[in-house]
Symmetry: C2
């Protein structure tokens, strides 16, 4: 990937505009936290880890914006920007995690001068971005152990370099398996309504010359039944303490059919995706998005005007349908309730 | 529906062009059997019963084309046209059934003059169309018994007046339930890749003012799990002797999730859809269609160029996932192998 998903230059956040890919390479420039929140909400940038890093830069942009105000106003401005950023998309926990991480650093250094705080925040946000790449590479190494040679892998949505600062989560594992010399083939769910599979995953896999085949989402069930899939790899937007996982709409369906035919189903995500305070997936808020995501494609209307829609962006895959969760801290196996707790202390 | 799916006027077949609906009302005029075969192949007209009636008109158009040839050439021309029409789409058995029905009439009357044969074929083809409507109404009456008041119904693809000469099969049942005073609500799968749910079913239900909600295909699994669906109604393109059913891609996935959560899953189709000679669904040829159906929408490219695709138009739902098959000759319940045979003698 020569194209960077997230770039920070001259105090501006430059995002690869994923709404236009793969047919148009363009960039979205966020000059303040409001632009940043818009970019998250409108899915200029998407994918839980990428959203997290973007939001951290949003907090830093707010700090720059309010640096000449009184210390109180500086703090108030950043806190309020954090709220705006956190509410841009409700399901991904990485977003809250990243913003809260920045705010924690802010408070820890509240006795310092504004100028000093700015420097610390800048270092921290670059650190978040740098760490995201390292974490993904560690996840990929861990996940690679699960991929047999000659595997046919099914994946959903996009979990690649475009969904992270770089490298990818589920797609990072695929990338690692391929670069380590394994012969693999990937079936890509197109992932309606936003078509992240068709637009982004197909684009990334083609760029990396990894053999792949694009399918509409409902074909996956037939492939799973017919023994054409050796394992399923998906990302996550939020993982509850019992292993229940919120991920892109369509993930639950895959997990149910995988379970029916004993096909291993792996969730691949950084530890920051785990919401240790959340007992089960039932408590996860599911974002419902604009009807136009279903009724229009590329700005062209396809359904009759004013038709009612139901458009949840995510669904919950119950823990019992998940074979293992691959993180940078190792592969978590059932019983998830116990084993997720075991990796908790290793968090900073 | 003021718009007729299939109309025959001044020796021309006028088809409502379903490739443009719901945003453009236009008609496709077939002047000969080649035009007719193209219309079937390109999905100007679709839906097993509508394809059957269209193909019967195609045979009649061939008869008109060759009427001034020698009797041998007249017969040869019609037989060859029949082959072209039957091969336009391989999965729907109604297509073969309708063409073979016309050829049977042709052979039965081979001693008559060409002029007399033409008159007989014309009467027969109009009869096929008239009968299709009657059959659908009988199916709807039978199916209505299965619909409880206040039902939430899930349907896939389009099985309405647009998929038949008029009235509809699965959508005919919904229409009958609504017109008989029941309060119902229909969830419509958009049905990728051709979006017949979003384009055609939403259009028909809105026109009939039947409450409905459009969803992307993978949302259905969540609704089925969460108890939001009381029953599933789908059509069929071919039903094997044991009840295995070929229908629009995505049907199998719905059947599997319905089975998992004990939601009744009904196949609604005329008896002409049953291929009594076919022991199981394994023998059904599945049509694979153009990659552009996935990579382009409304002529706009959405996936990277040259990405490999797998695009089966249909899938096979195993008999054990089907609660009952609703036909004009009654509701067939398991064991299908025995009970399908029981309605065979009632065929003409």
């Amino acid at each position: 990937m020569p194209l960077k998903t997230i770039n920070f230059q001259d105090n501006k956040l430059i995002l690869l505009d994923q709404r236009r890919l793969p047919l148009e390479i363009s960039f979205f420039q966020a000059e303040n936290y409001q632009d940043t929140a818009f970019a998250i909400k409108d899915m200029v940038v998407r994918g839980a880890p990428a959203i997290g890093a973007t939001a951290a830069y949003g907090v830093y942009l707010a700090a720059l914006e309010f640096k000449n105000k009184s210390k109180d106003e500086f703090f108030q401005g950043i806190i309020s920007a954090g709220e705006t950023l956190k509410s841009a998309r409700p399901t991904a926990v990485n977003l809250k995690w990243a913003v809260n991480g920045m705010l924690k650093i802010l408070f820890k250094n509240r006795e310092k001068t504004t100028e000093e705080i700015l420097t610390i925040l800048k270092t921290s946000v670059h650190e978040v971005a740098r760490e995201d790449i390292e974490i993904n590479k560690k996840i990929a190494e861990n996940g690679n152990e699960l991929i047999p040679d000659k595997a046919n892998i099914l994946t959903h949505c996009n979990t690649g370099a475009l969904a992270t600062v770089d490298y990818g989560t589920a797609l990072g594992v695929i990338r690692k398996a391929f670069s380590s010399g394994k012969t693999i083939h990937v079936y890509i769910d197109e992932t309606r309504p936003r078509l992240q599979g068709a637009r982004l995953t197909a684009f990334e896999l083609q760029n990396m010359e990894i053999p792949c085949t694009l399918i509409v989402d409902s074909v996956a069930a037939v492939l799973l039944r017919d023994g054409k899939i050796d394992l399923v790899l998906v990302g996550a937007d939020r993982i509850a303490n019992n292993g229940d996982t919120a991920n892109k709409i369509g993930t639950y369906m895959l997990s149910e059919i995988s379970q029916r035919f004993n096909v291993p189903f792996y969730v691949v995500a950084p530890t920051s995706t785990i919401d240790f305070c959340l007992p089960t997936g039932e408590e996860i808020e599911i974002e419902e998005r604009d009807p136009e995501e279903i009724t229009h494609i590329e700005g062209k209307q396809i359904a009759p005007a004013n038709v009612k829609t139901y458009n949840p962006a995510f669904d919950i895959t119950p823990a019992q349908n998940i074979t293992a969760i691959v993180t940078e801290n190792g592969i978590i196996k059932p019983p998830f309730k116990d084993n997720i707790q075991k990796i908790k202390p290793s968090l900073a």
